[in-house]
Symmetry: D2
Subunit: 386 residues, 4 copies
């Protein structure tokens, strides 16, 4: 039995088996993976890590398991799944996903199988079952990776705590005490308002934190560096889950020319400037933006670079993520019927449109070329009808 | 004008000149220096940096300056001094001080003089005056580096926030609004209780955080690595303020043998064990503990290593810091007289003894040798009368 | 100069003139008026008073005045207006408004004119001007009584703090630092998200707190008692602002029969039961619900009482307030143009519909008659087409 | 099963039996008893009640019971004891104790026996056993009424929350998880620091809140009113637990002359002034202060009144409570031995002296007589050697 003091949830308890899991190099590595990548360049307090998030998620999973009255073994399975669910994350969390073909869930699966993590887990559980829970399959899958999962609850609270942005505060108590487990998690009608407020928390955190325009610039800068390091074989994409943030920064600093220089800019916070922003409602077919292929993006970058007479790596075309709202489909039990959250809450429906409108395609380049870039009509260089 | 969102104090404002200072590589580097070194291995949330602490200190300094009704120029001087006061810190903050001959105040002074930080400062201020304020000289010196300074207020609050240890909560409002500036800062009698509580905050934070026994182990392990890197010339002690945490970890990982191996232990949290603890009240002349010279310590380590037949680098004799209580001498204004805090508060006097008793000399070594070390009477190997 | 410790905002400062105002019996009375009436029967912590809210509002008004760079005299006018803005509130705040013909703004005006509050104010200000600010007129009127006013900011934060319902947390910093004063307050585009989140805070606080179904029951019970006390002349409606919560409860306890009995029920939390709820979307002409006259409601109550063979005072038909959204019309400055918040935020538009749907007409009666009431088709007794 | 939202601890759960207890008039009355009496005249947020404190104490008792691994029945006994432990408190909590011969524990016992509370309790428990737990007898007695009991933990946290004074923050987690039950509660050595910090919290809360000089004035004023009401038979001391704050204020307002006038002063915050303060260390035999009999105090008041030619009821001689430190004797388990907290912590020993020195005897009277009172040498009128 061991206690870990968490700044968000207080004293968290791990049993001996969980301590053994937490003490593997695979989980300890998460102490050196920042939860929000380079967001600390925007919010100086955002230095929190996947490790804290992992034990925080375990704690919330455990509280939900208690409410659902799971038997001891299942409870333990859920706890351990939560503890290791992010083991496959690459350096700087989601920021490193761009250049990698596999999802972090797939990488977690691969990692577990080939590391001592898998050995330890199989002392007590079926590894296959753990992987199902982590990847959101089966009735227990909703707990860690569903529409209203404890992973999301923890990161909203935690990101809010460390950035100082109050929008992420959610009523975890109300959510956890209004769920029941049937074929998956079902929310009781009494929890609808708490669920609405959790969606709103996400809605507000997107432009404030996750898609803050400066966050997007630094992440784009870093992604290009990482792509180069992968291309050159300095970093092995098949083993991305072996590196931590330090490895990648040290590797980038060691590079000459482009990568070394951009890393220095990141270190000194000399960021690229946004010279163009295209909102979805400014074009006739916004879906074309999300459909742009990597090749098409690269081609646009090359042409803009040529026009400005700079190296093409200096041009970063940043296509927004498609704003998903899986929470819309959360099953809700109302007067005995099971309906979808989107059906009982017109606030939730409104959010879908509202958020869609926030997204924009942006173009960034070094400050020294920003002025000459003003002459360009960027839309002409993008494969988007206009 | 720019706003930075701080998780502890909220929206903090920087004017254009301060933004220029903050944007220098010297201040940006502080984003990559952890405030509490390796304490994150004990408290997983303790990843906060000298950068946040610097702007937080600037904020508190500014509020104090407003209360003291300083003129605009002096107010600005105090703010900028606070912003840069930690620029000379080496990697992992105080942890790197062991191997360096110069204090971090001296290094800050050297750094300012030779970097663009000095150039920018001298546009508006006398650099000499800034250095006086930072090093606690002159009437303004008390603000940032005195008995009850804003530096300490910020770090107690901040370390408390990020570790989740509530002991560091202090009544900053009451302190800041009960000070006046004469030859230095004087506390009004109404603030005595708040000052007592701030001393208690420190008192409690020592064993819980700053001198937590695991923190001491990891810091000792790291210090030995750093000493080796300095010895080998991998790191230049004269320019310690140019390195960040990443540089040192990357350098240590790149080493073969001892340093590389210890770094791997730190990464995987395979920590040395404490095999011996000597409390001050267990010996006749506790002052001898603090008077042990580096040579004497090294000699002890070598003899213990020989006895155990292991490499002498595996033995770490950790002598505690001498517990100082400068706050005892804080001038307090009571009914027109100026007395010392220690004179009006017997709680403060009691703390001195209480804290002295917490300190102990410890010996650590790798877990695999811990058992065989039990046979040793360590006191025989230390240069302490018994 | 005096400091008051507020649990929400910390140490608040009052100058000598403000202390004189605060020390009048009219403002001290607010210490004995609960901010949320009988809501403490639902949220046991909701015992906070109009007094704290008044000094909290003064504090926020002052911070806004600083941001707007108002001159010292205007700043002081705004502070004092905020301090006294609620002086005309009757016992249990809004709950007592039902039986009174005048709005609390009118009563505040009457009270100020006839009490020493007016005398003190006129030492420094034009009372007429103060009344204009309090009632939301003129450019300064928006500060305390506008679309996004500091009154609302304070009560959302405060009600959230004391009920323990986290929904009321809003980003006051962001709001206050993104306003400018022209013909009235205009929000800068950067503050739109904070404004959205403030509207959402209200949206969530309505069903959770302000219109919680139990809150509505106790308030309806109390309103009937108060109506009786006014009818009998025990309480003088023209001087409602002279009574505090204690006066009214003591008066009600002293009554025999109905009022005394209902007061005892309230004391012992033996609440009426809701036997009927009619949502707006269940009828063809929801506007008819809001248009029901007091006579029509009384007639319905009498007929239901006759049908159930009970005294008509036991039947409480509770018509919801019309959900207003003045915030929709908040002027927002976007790229030099001034538009309305409802135009730039489709989230805000969505809230209007969403909230409208929450409202319902309810019927309550004593638990002992609840079962026999099940046989009634209540809609037949209401003047609503169906 | 029912949830109550507590502003301090979050959602608290009551089972059906506990709801039945909580719904009795005896427990509901606690909603109308302020936890800190008239302290709201000093800290405007201090309007919290014995009701919230009772369910908060039940919650902490329950968490401790879980840690102690009590069986279900004992756990339930402890919860219910905590819920009702304050049922015998008179109006304004401790403030009303002065004029009553019985302790609030005795009154709780009397109340339980003669009310439906006793009937309900005896459905499930032995009332005798409940009374033993509440009055701190037997091994379970330490939980609610011991050296480090949950009653105290709750009120420190709660009083801190509502006054805004941060000193009351304690590490409840650490305390609750470091106790074991033998003949009584024993603290594990790991909890010593948390226990120290809890004692310090009390130490700081005394002068800031509980014995704040203005709090002492208003409490003294009220006590004299209450004494008169008891003397006149308006309030029955044998049934003090039937009255709430409202009853007593209404009764006092209804009085003519002295009581009515003092009540009006309290309502309008026109407080008596302190004209004399005698610190313990200013006299040779400080114990004489605590030994002053009611008669001796009354005699002093009469003589001072005569000297000033005012009614003797206007003179209030306020003798401080003797500062007790039962926590000194908390049993602590250190390396297998059980010792007392005062033995392992010299901080705790220091507190005893420190707090003793805070206490002083004070004399208050109406402001209009304050100036003429300056001529008096009050010590001559007190039965204290000098």
């Amino acid at each position: 039995m061991k206690f870990v003091r968490d700044s968000v949830h207080g004293d968290l308890q791990l049993d001996d088996f969980e301590v053994k899991l937490a003490d593997t190099p695979e989980i300890q590595r998460l102490r050196r993976i920042k939860q929000l990548g380079f967001t600390y360049l925007v919010y100086p307090g955002a230095n929190h890590t996947r490790f804290e998030h992992s034990i925080g998620t375990m704690y919330l999973a455990s509280r939900l398991a208690l409410n659902l009255e799971l038997d001891d073994e299942t409870h333990s399975l859920v706890r351990c799944s939560a503890l290791i669910h992010d083991a496959g994350h690459g350096p700087f969390s989601h920021v490193s996903e761009g250049g990698i073909d596999n999802s972090h869930e797939e990488l977690t699966s691969k990692l577990i199988k080939e590391s001592q993590l898998g050995d330890i887990l199989s002392e007590k559980f079926s590894v296959k079952e753990i992987l199902r829970v982590i990847s959101g399959q089966g009735p227990l899958g909703d707990i860690i990776s569903g529409e209203l999962d404890v992973d999301r609850m923890d990161y909203l609270l935690r990101d809010s705590y460390y950035t100082g942005v109050a929008y992420g505060i959610i009523d975890v108590e109300r959510l956890l005490s209004n769920m029941k487990l049937e074929n998956g998690l079902i929310l009781h009608g009494k929890g609808v308002q708490a669920a609405e407020s959790m969606l709103l928390a996400r809605y507000f955190m997107y432009p404030s934190v996750y898609q803050h325009h400066t966050t997007r610039i630094v992440n784009s800068m870093f992604r290009r560096c990482l792509a180069k390091l992968l291309e050159k074989g300095v970093i092995n994409p098949q083993e991305i889950y072996r590196y931590d943030d330090i490895d990648v920064i040290a590797a980038a600093r060691a590079e000459e020319n482009y990568v070394g220089e951009v890393m220095e800019r990141l270190d000194n916070r000399q960021l690229y400037k946004r010279v163009y922003s295209l909102k979805l409602d400014e074009v006739d077919h916004p879906e074309e933006i999300f459909q742009m292929s990597p090749d098409s993006i690269e081609k646009s970058e090359a042409e803009i670079a040529q026009e400005l007479d700079v190296d093409k790596d200096f041009i970063l075309v940043d296509v927004p993520e498609y704003p998903t709202f899986h929470e819309m489909t959360t099953p809700v039990s109302v007067n005995g019927d099971t309906v979808m959250l989107g059906d009982v809450s017109n606030l939730v429906r409104a959010l879908k449109d509202a958020r869609f409108n926030h997204a924009d395609l942006c173009i960034y380049l070094p400050e020294e070329y920003a002025e000459q870039a003003l002459k360009i009509n960027f839309l002409d260089y993008l494969d988007i009808s206009h």
